[in-house]
Symmetry: C2
Subunit: 206 residues, 2 copies
DNA sequence: TTGGAACTCCTATAAAAATAGGATGTTTTA
DNA sequence: TAAAACATCCTATTTTTATAGGAGTTCCAA
């Protein structure tokens, strides 16, 4: 008899953790060896217990799942991380992947999805339970590089400050702010402020 | 021996339903008699099975939990509804209460909270597991109610169309668009377009 | 049936943003 | 060490938004 896959869950929703445990009892080759409600406890657990696959919620009370994922991947390279995400968090997944995650599972996934995720990741594959049949609205690729000043100005614009106000707040000239604004619109391919802020929000720049 | 409290769960996240069932096995006087993943199935179940307390998720695939709550309260007055909500949905709770809910339970509630919720509601009290000690996360999380037209105009603004262009696209006057824009800014407490779009993005309105 | 939303439209002014086409010094970095 | 890239600043014009203060119509629910 083989050793079972050791699954670890980090989620601050007890209901989710419990659901996981229950569903996984039906999986022949996997078992939940532990769970944590925050990143701190998670790291603590991993230091003392061997784990094969960790499911990480993206919204955690202390640090976010993305940082936690990076941390785990660095400190415990044998642990394979999977992001656990609601429908609304999807924008985070690319960053999660960059942080070393092997994929992600939606929280409204079925038992079958869950099992498939575990099997795929155990077999060293990636798992994404995204529905590619829909046009995946993925212009995600082009995240433009903003300079530090541009980021500052962008944030100020998003806060609702006018060029005049931003100039005063950053101790620069109004025309300078205006120039940065123009450049931001160029980089984010937006024709005005509204589109700029929308694009920035989508790319998680603000 | 008394009859156990019959609990019913409506949530499209199997993990949550499962977690519920598991946690409730430890409750002496309650048992989960069923669950549904959407409102349609929920109504179907209630027609054929007696239920004491129903936990309703707010985000359901077909109709939202608020309407479902109203429907259940109207059709099955003996069923006591509790909203099941994530931290982010809180803005809905007042509407949920108006629709007849006896309170709400956060999804990251502890087992104790869950039990308390059931006991309180069974005893015909209301239950809110809000933590009023914290300064409620900024009232900014309030999701204002936008009319259909306002939503349309908001989307157009976010796309980068000017008032003139929006007027042409929606076959209305420029001043009308302008009025909607002003009202949007009022409702989202924004002093200009940039802040408006940022707030809208944050509230997931665009 | 009636009062309240929601939607429509208006005038007029002030404020801000967008566009165009520059320039100059200062850091990076290949 | 130069060429990029960055950050700063300018004039001038046009377009768009924001603000203020209205008003009429339709439709729905209490």
């Amino acid at each position: 008899m083989k050793t079972k896959l050791r699954i670890f869950i980090v989620d601050d929703h007890p209901l989710v953790s419990e659901g996981f445990k229950t569903l996984l009892r039906q999986h022949p080759d996997a078992e939940v060896v532990g769970s944590a409600e925050n990143a701190f406890d998670a790291i603590g657990f991993l230091k003392n217990n061997p784990v094969d696959i960790a499911f990480l919620d993206i919204n955690l009370p202390d640090i976010n799942g993305i940082e936690l994922c990076a941390k785990i991947t660095a400190e415990f390279p044998d642990v394979k991380c999977l992001a656990l995400t609601t429908f609304n968090d999807r924008s985070y997944i690319s960053r999660m992947i960059q942080s070393g995650a092997r994929g992600y599972l939606l929280k409204n996934a079925s038992r079958e999805d869950l099992f498939k995720a575990i099997d795929e990741v155990a077999g060293d594959n990636l798992f994404f339970n995204v529905d590619y049949s829909k046009p995946t609205e993925s212009r995600f690729t082009e995240k433009p590089v903003l300079t530090r000043r541009e980021q500052e100005v962008l944030r100020e614009i998003a806060e609702g400050y006018t060029n005049q106000e931003i100039a005063e707040r950053l101790y620069i000239g109004v025309t300078t702010v205006s120039t940065h604004r123009q450049n931001l619109m160029l980089k984010l391919e937006s024709k005005n402020t509204a589109a700029l802020i929308k694009a920035a929000a989508k790319l998680d720049l603000i």
